[in-house]
């Protein structure tokens, strides 16, 4: 697998392949093509706000739909279409916009199967951009996957590499349950090996991104990249961390996390989300409940602060958990004899 592809193009390729494979797959969202109704008569001017849906409209004109700015209506339409025979991929441009359409996701799509006694299938995928780093300020930089992870009935995918992004998106499209697919906007240009052929990666199977015996670092999404950077610094100091990337927060591969903690005895959880009721707290709590006896030191959570995302580069750069903060937390759990207060 020598071919390199960016995170963005890996996602794009997954959609191209799935649309070719299954004509029930449709794509809808704001400016995913771009140009409809414009004076240039060009129906695919953008291919998505940052280009993730390039080329799809041209290839599948009737199955790729630009939408008005009406997230409730079109996310709901994706859900209704999924319940009635299609397999839509809807794009919620930024996850920050969930607040105008969350009902269709968490009360409708997520609950149909249960409320209706197993009498429903809702194979909808909602792709959405998350994360800080582009100086996009408080309403365009949030992480928010903890909110979706909390909701029974949703599956939540947070890929950390181009390879995973393609394979997990293909799985998402083929999955019969509603899936929320998180794409970090600061990762789109990240390159990595991506096979040309179609492949799928199962949900709920963690990836041990790096092996190491000293400390288990659970990280997800862009934080896996930061953990990898921290690993290099630490390796130079003789500290070997094991990086576990759950890849999906729901379902969560708890076993792999417990096994790693059982071998290292120490846990750091890295999460770009705010700290409270976060994915970091979720993993930390599960370990404190189910692998407690393996722990030889306090668990450390490395998260963004309990504050909105700031605009200024001077502040945003210290907002996101950095490789340095991860490395410090690792040193901390190795050195720590007692749990000190934050």
């Amino acid at each position: 697998m020598a071919r390199k592809l960016s995170f963005l193009l890996a996602i794009n390729e997954a959609m191209h392949q799935e649309m070719a494979r299954d004509e029930r797959v449709i794509i809808l969202g704001e400016d995913i093509a771009g140009g409809a109704g414009g004076s240039a008569g060009n129906d695919e001017a953008w291919g998505g706000a940052l280009g993730a849906t390039q080329g799809l409209k041209t290839k599948y004109p009737h199955r790729v739909l630009d939408t008005p700015i009406s997230e409730s209506a079109f996310i709901g339409a994706a859900v209704g279409a999924a319940a009635s025979g299609l397999r839509p991929i809807a794009e919620l441009m930024f996850v920050d916009f969930m607040g105008v359409c969350f009902d269709q996701i968490f009360n409708q799509a997520a609950k149909f199967r249960y409320m209706f006694g197993g009498n429903a299938i809702t194979p909808v995928v909602i792709r959405t951009m998350y994360g800080a780093g582009l100086r996009a300020a408080s309403q365009h930089s949030q992480t928010l996957y903890p909110l979706f992870t909390h909701i029974p009935g949703l599956k939540v995918v947070v890929p950390s590499s181009p390879y995973d992004a393609k394979g997990l998106l293909i799985t998402a499209v083929r999955d019969d349950d509603p899936v929320i697919f998180f794409e970090h906007k600061a990762m789109y240009e990240l390159e990595g090996d991506v096979p040309e052929e179609s492949y799928s990666i199962p949900f709920g199977e963690a990836n041990i991104v790096r092996e190491g015996g000293d400390v288990t670092v659970v990280a997800i999404g862009r934080m896996v990249q930061h953990a990898l950077q921290a690993a290099e610094t630490l390796a130079a100091e003789g500290i070997q961390i094991e990086i576990v990337d759950p890849r999906t927060t729901s379902p969560l591969d708890e076993e792999t996390i417990y096994e790693s903690v059982e071998s290292t005895g120490r846990l750091v959880v890295v999460d770009e989300a705010h700290p409270r009721c976060s994915f970091a707290s979720d993993v930390a709590a599960l370990v404190a409940q189910n692998a407690f006896d393996a722990l030889r030191a306090p668990i450390r959570m490395v998260t963004s602060p309990h504050s909105p995302v700031p605009f200024s580069p001077a502040l945003e750069d210290v907002f996101v958990p950095s490789p340095e903060r991860i490395a410090a937390a690792v040193r901390d759990v190795l050195g720590a004899k007692s749990g000190s207060r934050r």
């Binding site: 409730s72 319940a83 409708q108 009498n119 009935g153």
Partner: protein
Amino acid sequence: MTVTAELSQESLLRGYRTMRTIRDFEERLHIEIANAQIPGFVHLYAGEEAVAAGVCSHLSDEDWVSSTHRGHGHAIAKGCDVKGMMAEIYGRATGLCKGKGGSMHIADFRRGMLGANGIVGGGPPLICGVGLSAKVRRSGQVGVAFLGDGASNQGTFLESLNLSAIWKLPVVFVVENNGYGEATGQSYHQAVEDIAKRADGFGLPGVTVDGNDYFAVAEAAGIAIGRARAGHGPTLLECKTTRFFGHFEGDTQTYRDPNEAAEARASRDCLVAFRARVTDAGLLAGAALDAIDVEIAQLIDESVAEALAAPWPDVSELSTDVYIKY
């Protein structure tokens, strides 16, 4: 629609049977709830039967409807099994949704019933999706979203008007204007009298009819559904009607003049009007309608008896059906 024209005897009998079934179902629930036999919040549809029956007379199992918290009438008109519905409302394992949904979440995908919905305004976006699905698959299906006057102020509905208009979706929005959203009168919650007027600002036709008149509803719905099926896009159909009971069972209704519902029952009962018109016109004999009355009374009796005798869901059901596979 002139009563004499177009409608076959069979279709007239079906319309009457639907309305009678809904009425008896709701009247019986009213009694059973007073006897504290039924858990939870229940919203009765009695008085509004002509809307569900008139609209659904044009739909097959392949077509879809989205419903509301006041969903029993839509479910019955769409062909859901009455006994399964009753068991569901009693929370039994034999219910249409295994007892997991209850009154506010009755659905049956095999009948194109996309679900009662506890979220006011939850249905219209979903029905846009049904229309989109039908359009992409060129299936000829139609989607109908039922909603209330109160729901017509919800952004989800208003956005759906626009979305369906630009995509020319094969859908119909049926606003059941019963004059109230819970305890709040329409003259307070909106500044226009005819909700159908909203259609114009989004570029689709809007029509207002007497929702107590089965024939008026059926005629207007027939045109709207025909338009949708022919690919001419959505319609907003407003049906003015009255609910006979409170907003939910237990509602003291001190917000409305007690005569209001009484008067509607006395002078605008869709079943009474239907019977008078078809018998006056000599289209159906009173005896044929009487026979339906007897048949339905028995069906409802059996439904309640069977629901009461049915088992509760097993506790192992608590965490099944959350996902298809997890």
